[in-house]
Subunit: 241 residues, 2 copies
């Protein structure tokens, strides 16, 4: 049975199989070695994620089967500014941390050997939010973006702290993206969600983090004989094993 | 538990999660309703597929769980010309049909309600094969392509006949692509494998065929409350159900 890599997160996870998406790229990367399972829930914060964690992953693994890895990627919605148009998605910083701890504990208890990778919220391009975001609850006339980069940064730092105390790997995508000049428009299509180059950055970070945890296409068993190992003079021999 | 759509085929299935791929597009299409499971095996023909069908799908479904749908997409390798450089992948036309019948029977017996969709081999751009294909067994000095469009067409017709006698849906991608002028270069990147527009054509055909069989995002249950159904004034209410 092929091992599984589960992606649990918000809209940036839910849309990760669109053109150039980081989830699709992972599925392609592991095309003969692992199944990538999509569990993305647009708009969700950690408060809601904690409510649904058991139901979301129900039936993904058989009894006794533990996934290889699980990415937990929430915070972009928690970090919404509480008194602006997406305030109902906001979760206070200390509750965000406590929710992350509970989500990690839940999965650690259920799947003790699974590599859990936390991903911080991405940076926010406030100009992109104002110009590209279709505000679904347009009664906020303040003209201020419903998310800010400072707030996302505070949640990123809090996420890293939880990973550190829990001794699990974390991808600081908030900092990583901002290492590149022009990240605002090149990596984010609406100030929050990823362009294809933004997706590529995250894909590469996930692959690197999994490799550091011992999960790599070079070491995972390949599902059925690869074409390169089939002898043109006696093809069926490869299938006798 | 989310239902599954399984993609079983050769390299055009294996690489279906690359950028713009039809498999990734399906996973995105069903992002909240079904899991798309990749079982693509580069280079495989129906003879080899039949040998591995049980092992390839082992553990994908729990006992008593039947997938929603399964695409079976082989024939591009079977149709290789027998005395040219990919001859060891060739399978005679009548054996191709009998192998397809056996593969269908195997899955029908195992999963009686699963919608099985056959996909014919795609058309071949012989010029593209000669100019773009890196021949892995370069001892054929004939200068003739290892695949021809006529041969692929004969296998496509044979595939349609098997679908018809088995009363299961079939996608005639061989004919479909050739309805568009310039299909040779716009849909095929090396005379055989798909470009992004080629992938899009197949994705749309699969969605259409599944819809005709009653499988649609409009009718499948959505996994957990969609963001649009969460009340901003009382978000947690949505999670009490």
């Amino acid at each position: 049975m092929r091992p599984k890599v589960i992606l649990f997160g918000d809209s940036i996870t839910e849309e990760s199989f669109t053109n150039g998406g980081w989830g699709a790229a992972l599925a392609d990367h592991f095309s003969r070695t692992a199944d990538v399972v999509l569990r993305g829930y647009s708009g969700y914060n950690t408060r809601w994620a904690l409510k649904v964690a058991a139901r979301a992953l129900d039936g993904v693994c058989e009894d006794g089967e533990w996934p290889l890895a699980l990415t937990v990627f929430f915070g972009a919605n928690d970090a919404s500014i509480h008194d602006r148009s997406s305030g109902f998605q906001h979760v206070p910083l200390d509750e965000y941390q406590s929710n992350l701890r509970s989500i990690i504990s839940f999965f650690k208890e259920r799947w003790p050997t699974t590599v859990i990778v936390l991903i911080t919220p991405p940076p926010i391009d406030e100009d992109g939010r104002l110009s590209k975001c279709r505000n679904p609850f347009g009664d906020d006339a303040s003209g201020l973006p419903e998310r800010t980069n400072d707030s996302a940064g505070a949640y990123a730092k809090a996420c890293i702290a939880v990973a550190s105390e829990s001794n699990i790997p974390v991808i600081d995508i908030w900092s990583k993206m901002q290492q590149f000049s022009g990240w605002e428009k090149s990596f984010l299509r609406d100030g929050l969600h990823f362009t294809a180059p933004g997706n590529k950055i995250l894909f590469e970070e996930v692959v690197k983090k999994l490799e550091e945890s011992g999960i790599s296409v070079d070491t995972l068993p390949v599902d059925l004989p690869p074409f390169s190992e089939i002898d043109p003079k006696d093809p069926l021999k490869a299938f006798e094993r």
